[in-house]
Symmetry: C2
Subunit: 227 residues, 2 copies
């Protein structure tokens, strides 16, 4: 049974990506990164999702990016609410080099476990804004993972799987629903007012809510603000 190392943030996307990896037959180890995010309830969500999916090997690695700063998710910058539109600019919730850092730590875990398959829930709705969700970035990272590890020296090739890359949020919700993901356990909100409560107003909440509506799938989320 091939092992895969999966990034699990506790959000809707990564929960779906983990379910994809299990359905594809991988033995899954999950990695969550505690990067000093303000919305720490993400990590609780990741633990719930791992348990619900039956992933026994779930590790949390602390990477304190606050010493670097530069993002509304780690620094004392307000998370934008009620934006008129979700545009093409890199949002201020972008954490500098986040996916590079997360995939690097995931590569370390993969190396220890003998896994050659890395799984990340990156998707098209993000890569309009976040540079490190672009397909060419993910391909280039797979090459780095191979070259930078013991396994790579021995000729192994690494793959970065991004099974949600070209899906809309509605497509992700449909896929996850068909795989039995319990989205009530996940947390997307950048600024949750309470555990398992979504603000309903930040970009992540708006994408999430619209995704369920468009997918025609029941939304189990509690939002603090009406649509």
């Amino acid at each position: 049974m091939r092992r895969a190392a999966v990034l699990l943030s506790g959000g809707l996307d990564s929960a779906t990506a983990a379910a994809w990896a299990l359905a594809a037959g991988f033995e899954v180890a999950a990695l969550s990164v505690d990067y000093g995010q303000r919305h720490r309830s993400e990590l609780d969500a990741a633990r719930r999702v791992a348990t619900a999916l039956g992933i026994a090997d779930h590790r949390v690695v602390a990477v304190d990016l606050r010493a670097i700063g530069g993002s509304a998710l780690t620094a004392e910058i307000a998370v934008p609410k009620d934006r008129a539109a979700i545009g093409d600019d890199v949002p201020i919730t972008y954490v500098p080099a986040r996916n590079t850092i997360f995939l690097a730590v995931l590569t370390g875990l993969a190396e220890v476990l003998g896994a050659r398959d890395l799984v990340i829930g990156a998707n098209v709705q993000d890569y309009s804004g976040y540079p490190d969700c672009r397909p060419e970035f993910l391909r280039a990272f797979a090459r780095v993972a191979g070259l930078g590890t013991r396994a790579g020296v021995e000729g192994a090739r690494f793959a970065v799987h991004a099974p949600l890359l070209h899906l809309s949020k509605a497509g992700i919700v449909r896929l996850g629903a068909s795989l039995g993901v319990d989205y009530a356990l996940t947390l997307s909100c950048y600024d949750p007012p309470a555990a398992l409560v979504h603000c309903g107003r930040c970009d992540a909440c708006r994408l999430r809510r619209a995704g369920f509506v468009e997918a025609g799938v029941h939304d189990p989320t509690t939002y603090a603000s009406p649509a």
Copy 2:
């Protein structure tokens, strides 16, 4: 003045690489990674080196790799002493994907500072054993750094400078001595018996000691064991 982000471990190599970056005219920001290494006096050495070189922006980012394990430098595995030879195998002091992880965090810092130049003290003596010191790895990483950052989206190219890559330890010592590096401030030992004291028996100490001898440069190091 172009900015460079430099990995500074507190060892002989990274101190020399930082001095190279300063001599090359870069405005230098230094990054040390607290990765749960057992030899934490490395971080004290990094602080001393940064101060001595006049690097005002020195950040320590905590990345707790102990949750991943797999190395004598982070886990409860004995550091080898008095090995008959330093061979071609990947040593057990190899930290899984270490340089991938360090360079990823360095990319985050570079992004925040507007730097496009990453500097690492990787060298040939290491890359016989550590896969993530190989030149093709460093080239591939530069591509990832460009693709995974905001600056890259805007067309900037990143460079990973490894000015020591093809130098022997003696060559590094000669270069650093010519640049005025005070090696008494640096720490190479994997298992230092006291602050600023080198064991003299681990691979890192043996390479260091032999480097000074071969370079014909006075060795200011205190070793606990005779040569």
